[in-house]
Amino acid sequence: MKGRVGSAVRFGIAGTVGLALFLAISADAQTRRFERHFTVQGKPVVTVQNATGRIQVRAWDKQEVMIVGQRGSTNVETDTEQVGNRIEIATRVTSGSGNSDALRADYDISVPVESELQVRSDSGNVTVDSVHGEMSFDTVAADLALQDVEGYLVVKSIGGSTICTRCAGRFDGTSISGNFQLLQPTMDNVRVQTSSGNILFDGSFMNRGIYVLKNYSGTIEVRFSSSDSFDVRATSLYGNVINQAPVVPDRHNMPPPRIGLAKSLFGTMNDGRAKVELSSFNGTIKISKRE
C-alpha cells in the first residue's frame, strides 16, 4: 500500500514538472512568434531580407499586409517598417552565437494580389503564390518556388534552384549552379542563364516572344507542341543538340552564324513567330515534343 502511494506521488511530481516544462517551452515559443498587420492603399512594395529561414508569400483579397513570423531564438529580431505603401521586413541577428536553427526566422506573409516583392534570402526556401506585380529575388542557396504569379520576375541566385509554375509576364533568371524550371508559363520574354544547372522550359512559345536560354554544362530542354511557331537557334560548343522539332531552314533570310566546331541547329517551325535561342558550352540541348 505504502509503495503504491509513493509511486503515485512520484508520478504526480513528474507530471507536474513535465507540464511546467511544456508550458515554459510553449511560452518561449509564443514569445518568438509574432504577428503584424499593415494597412495599405493600392499596390504595396514589400521588401523581405532574411538570411536563414522559410519565406512564404501568398496573395489574399485584403488591402493589408500581414506578417506572421517565428524566430528561431532570441538571438534574432525582426524589424518591420511601413512608410506609405512600402513595407520592409528584415531579420537582424542580435547575437552571433548559436547554430543556424537558432539564427533562422520563418515568415508567412499575406499581401494584396497586386503587390511588388523584393526578397533577399541566403538559405531556406522561398515560395510565392498568386501575387501579381514586379518581383525580384536575390538568393544564395535558397530554393525558390513561384506559382501562379504574374509580372516582371527577376531571379538572381548562386546555388538555389527555381521552379516557376504557371507564371506569366517576363522572366529574367541567372544562377551559377541552380536549376530553372518554367512549367506551363505564359511568358513572352524569358532569359535564363545558369552555369552548371539544368534549364527546362515546358510551355508554349508566344507570338513575338523571345526566349534565350544559356548554360555551360547540364541540360537545356524546351518542349514544344505542334502548333508552336518559332525560329530556333541552338548551339552547343562541345555538347550535343537533340532535336525532335520538324524545323525547316530559316525563312527570314537570317544567315546562320559562323560556329566553328559546335553542334548546332538553325531553323523555323511553322511561321517562326517566336524567337528561341539556346546555347551551351558543353551541355546537351534538347528540343522535345511535348507528350
Binding site: G98, I176, S195, S196, Y216, T235, L261, F281
Partner: protein, 225 residues
C-alpha cells in the same frame, strides 16, 4: 596608303579608342590574324563593358584599391591623367567605384587574353582600360591578378557568418564550379583562339566569378554588422 605594322596598329587602337578603324589599319587587319583577333576581343570586351555598366555592379572598394596598388608597385600600370580612358568612354563618365568590379573583370579578361596571345609582343600591349599594361610580363599579370582575386575570396569567405554554414558551403561550392568553368574555357580558347564563341564563354565565366565575389562580399558585410 602605306602599309602599317602590328605595333602601329596597336598604337592606333590605344590612341584612338572607340574610333572606327582607318583604311590602313583595316587593310593591315585583313592580313594579320593576331591583330584581327585583338580587334575582335576589344569589340567583345567593349560590348561586355556596356552591359556591365548598365547593371551597376557594386564590388568591394578595397578590391580595386589593392589590385591597383599591386599593379602600380610592380610598375605594370601607369596613369594617363590627361587622356580620357576607354573605360570612361564606354560608360559615359569617369570610372566610378561602383564599376570597379567590372574593371577588375575587364582587367582579368584582358590579362588572360594577353597571356594567350601577346607573350611575344615587343611593345606596349594595347588594353581597353584607362591604364596601360607594360609588355613582356602579361602572363605574370594574369597570375598576379588571379592570386589577388583568390586572396580576396579567402578574406571574404573567412568573414562570412559562422551561424550560416549553408551560405558558406554554397559559396565555396560555387566558387569551385566557376573556377572549373574558367579552366575549361581557357583550355577551349587555347585550342581555338580564333573562335569568338569560345572567348565569349571565357568572358562569361570570369563575369560569373566577379558576380560570386560581389555576392559573397555583400553577405559578409551585411551579416557582419
Amino acid at each position: 596608303m602605306s602599309p602599317i605594322q602590328c605595333a602601329q596598329f596597336e598604337r592606333m587602337l590605344e590612341e584612338q579608342p572607340g574610333d572606327p578603324l582607318s583604311a590602313a589599319a583595316a587593310e593591315h587587319m585583313k592580313g594579320c590574324v593576331d591583330c584581327r583577333v585583338l580587334w575582335s576581343d576589344i569589340e567583345a570586351i567593349h560590348t561586355a563593358g556596356m552591359e556591365w555598366g548598365s547593371e551597376e555592379v557594386e564590388p568591394p572598394e578595397y578590391l580595386w584599391t589593392s589590385l591597383r596598388q599591386q599593379l602600380e608597385s610592380e610598375g605594370l600600370i601607369r596613369e594617363r591623367p590627361a587622356q580620357r580612358g576607354w573605360l570612361a568612354t564606354w560608360f559615359g563618365a569617369a570610372p566610378r567605384w561602383t564599376l570597379a568590379g567590372a574593371s577588375v573583370s575587364l582587367l582579368l579578361i584582358a590579362a588572360m587574353l594577353a597571356g594567350y596571345r601577346m607573350s611575344d609582343f615587343r611593345t606596349s600591349a594595347a588594353l581597353p582600360v584607362h591604364l596601360s599594361i607594360s609588355a613582356g610580363r602579361p602572363k605574370l599579370v594574369a597570375a598576379d591578378l588571379g592570386k589577388t582575386l583568390d586572396g580576396d575570396f579567402k578574406r571574404v569567405f573567412d568573414s562570412l557568418p559562422e551561424g550560416n554554414p549553408a551560405l558558406a558551403s554554397s559559396l565555396r561550392e560555387n566558387l569551385g564550379i566557376v573556377d572549373n568553368l574558367i579552366a575549361v574555357c581557357e583550355e577551349s580558347v587555347r585550342q581555338q583562339p580564333d573562335d569568338p564563341m569560345a572567348r565569349d564563354y571565357l568572358y562569361g565565366a570570369y563575369e560569373q566569378k566577379a558576380v560570386l565575389l560581389a555576392a559573397a562580399t555583400d553577405r559578409s558585410a551585411l551579416e557582419g554588422q
